[in-house]
């Protein structure tokens, strides 16, 4: 989580973090907060091999967030989408994926001054719910 020296560039992200926390064992099927209608997210990435991730994607789409499926591998979403978008400016993404996909995206995000600002284990292992967002120094 960001410390006091930092704040989330996209303030609305902060408002959905409690919603993401619901993706833990207490609530296997994450329901994004109802107030999260003006999605500040650039995209939500989900692993289509897992049923909870499919449900997550459907909910994100209903909320107007663009989604991108992966099948474990982030190469396509990285090379054809995020690398180009982040080259222009860092923008927040969220996801429900296996840890290995997050590992790759986190490392790549660091190069664009972005950080994982939320990371919650999902009840269905090995899924993990996460948000990557830009940070700026205060």
């Amino acid at each position: 989580m960001p410390n006091r020296r930092q704040f989330l560039e996209l303030g609305l992200i902060a408002s959905i973090l409690p919603g993401l926390a619901a993706a833990t064992e207490r609530s296997p099927m994450w329901a994004p907060a109802a107030s999260f209608t003006r999605a500040p997210l650039y995209k939500a990435i989900y692993d289509k091999s897992y049923a909870p991730a499919l449900a997550y994607a459907a909910q994100m789409q209903r909320l107007g967030v663009a989604v991108h499926p992966i099948d474990g591998d982030v190469t396509d979403v990285w090379f054809n989408d995020l690398a180009l978008r982040w080259r222009e400016s860092p923008v927040a993404i969220a996801g429900l994926t296996a840890p290995e996909a997050l590992f790759c995206l986190e490392q790549l995000a660091w190069d664009h001054r972005m950080r994982v600002v939320s990371r919650e284990l999902h009840a269905q292992r090995p899924l993990i719910s996460w948000v990557i967002a830009p940070i700026v120094r205060t």
């Binding site: 099948d71 591998d73 190469t75 296996a98």
Partner: protein
């Protein structure tokens, strides 16, 4: 906060202010949450006192800024540790060898400076990744193929400097480099090869210039910061073809390797061959229970051969890969079949895959899907396409219920003979039993064929977040280094934790090599500020009592 050894917080802060002036305040990182990004994700010292951590990081954008950093480091005696993109996972990542070093992060220097289609070369900065160069070539529609390692997110320069490899005809990345620019420890700027000639028009075409060829001094070392490097590329071939040789008997391994050497060293097979055995299974196809039982019960070679015959599978296989004109490579494969058939009675042949370049989107998608599912077919790197797929292959799945949290490569080089493979397996099996290591789990491992003239074994020893396990595995790693050295084999590359131990095995004539490297180090970096300890080369003031 970690500080450079022997430096006060006050002095370090003053130095950081100077670095901020040199590169811009926003590109000097000293806050703990920023410096933490330079931890090695696969560190075998994770969370231990000995974990190698940085004191700060500085990310210059130009060669002139790198020179300024060197001068400031000399003034303050600050240890500097250069990284390109810091993705050398399993061989050290972004973390310095010496704790307290300031990481010199070159990722902002990510310009593709030149690509020549006519002469098939590129000139790049250290922050250029394989993805970056691939994109540049695709965007410009150039008919060139690059060679990529797996994964493809690392730096061309970093990978070449560490002697990395890929799978296509240009897979020996160090051999394909041609001309470099280097900032020396004192801030001076050097160009190698033809680059030393002002106005040179052949910097990326002729490697040697005149006089001693010194490029090698900057690989796996700490004599300078490479800020530009040329690479030879391959014109996009017309076609790609694979074919597999299958041989029936255990003893056939020896003529199989001899013949493989012949067809490769003749220049006929130009892709990276793949040795295999239906008896060994693989990551996605664990060996059958009947076979496992045979192996665990110490089955004889005759029994294993009989098992292979029952399966109609052969004992060994070797997949050959060809790049070139369609008709030529078809003829090359036919010629290879003649050679193997003459050398090995009972050898059989299977035609493999055929592709024409450029691949279609559908073909790329199919290859990607196959790769993710563990297909034995060719993968994206075979076509010069970078990918991150290997991370998903290592993910938790039905065949891999307990994925590791990282690994460290133990990677010895052995002779390119069948006899050496057999002897290496005897040694590795003995070591696995002695050290209770998960290598040679099925009793036999085959080497990788990055290089035409020597084999390399790659064993990924697990790295965990458990301190006791990591300590035990480090001890086992060091024991392995000694065991292979006792047999005349040495590692080609190793994580920082073992670089001292590995260099110590290259000990001919009372460590003449290390003594020579230290003499050079003292001459070109008298203050010992650059890359302290990298590949066992320490500056004088950090050598302790060792002579």
């Amino acid at each position: 906060m970690t500080l450079p050894p022997g430096m006060s917080q006050r002095d370090f802060s003053a130095a950081l202010r100077q670095l901020e002036t040199a590169v811009g305040k926003e590109w000097v990182f000293s806050a703990p949450e920023d410096v933490a990004l330079y931890r090695d994700a696969y560190s075998p010292f994770w969370d231990e006192e000995e974990e190698r951590t940085a004191s700060a990081a500085v990310a210059p954008d130009t060669v002139e800024q790198v020179q300024s950093v060197m001068r400031i480091a000399n003034e303050h005696r600050i240890p500097i540790y250069p990284i390109s993109t810091g993705r050398n996972l399993a061989y050290g990542g972004a973390a310095p060898v010496l704790s307290g070093s300031v990481v010199l992060d070159l990722k902002r220097m990510n310009r593709v400076l030149e690509v020549s289609e006519e002469n098939a070369y590129a000139l790049v900065e250290p922050g250029v990744s394989y993805f970056d160069l691939y994109r540049d070539i695709q965007d410009r529609g150039l008919k060139l193929m690059i060679d990529v390692p797996t994964p493809g997110w690392g730096s061309l320069i970093g990978n070449a400097l560490d002697h990395g490899a890929g799978v296509t005809p240009m897979r020996d990345h160090w051999s394909t480099q041609c001309g470099m620019e280097v900032v020396l420890a004192n801030g001076d700027l050097l160009r190698t090869g033809m680059g030393a000639l002002p106005g040179a028009e052949t910097w990326q075409q002729y490697k040697f210039g005149v006089g001693p060829w010194i490029d090698g001094l900057f690989s796996q070392s700490n004599f300078g910061v490479v800020t530009k490097m040329g690479f030879w590329l391959m014109p996009q071939p017309d076609a790609y073809l694979t074919g597999t040789v299958v041989v029936p008997r255990y003893s056939d391994l020896i003529p199989l390797v001899d013949t493989l050497n012949f067809v490769e060293n003749s220049g006929v097979v130009n892709g990276m061959p793949q040795l295999g055995s239906p008896l060994l299974g693989g990551f996605f196809n664990p060996i059958q229970s009947e076979l496992r039982e045979l192996i665990e019960n110490g089955a004889s070679t005759d029994e294993l051969e009989a098992y292979a015959r029952r399966q109609g599978a052969g004992y060994w296989s070797c997949t050959l890969k060809f790049y070139g004109p369609e008709k030529s490579i078809a003829a090359d494969w036919e010629w290879c079949q003649d050679k193997f058939a003459a050398a090995i009675p009972g050898a059989t042949f299977e035609n493999g895959e055929q592709f024409r370049f450029p691949l279609s989107t559908e073909e790329i998608e199919a290859i990607t899907r196959g790769q993710a599912l563990g297909s034995r077919n060719s993968t994206l790197p075979e076509f010069g396409i970078p990918s991150l797929t290997m991370f998903s292959i290592g993910a938790r799945s039905a065949t891999n219920p307990n994925p590791t949290e990282g690994h460290m490569w133990f990677s010895p080089i052995i002779p390119r003979t069948g006899e050496a493979i057999i002897e290496a397996n005897r040694v590795f099996s003995e070591a696995a039993r002695e050290l209770d290591l998960p290598i040679n789990a099925v009793g036999f491992s085959l080497p990788t064929t990055y290089w035409n003239r020597a084999f390399i074994y790659l064993f990924g020893l697990p790295v965990t977040k458990d301190i006791a396990t990591n300590r035990a595995n480090r001890e086992k790693f060091e024991r392995l280094v000694k065991i292979v050295a006792e047999h005349g084999w040495g590692e080609y590359r190793t994580p920082p934790a073992f670089q001292d131990a590995v260099l110590a095995t290259y000990s001919f004539n009372n460590h003449a090599l290390r003594r020579f490297l230290e003499t050079l180090k003292d001459a070109v970096d008298p203050n010992g500020i650059l890359g302290a300890g990298r590949y066992g080369i320490w500056p004088r003031h950090l050598r302790g009592g060792r002579v």
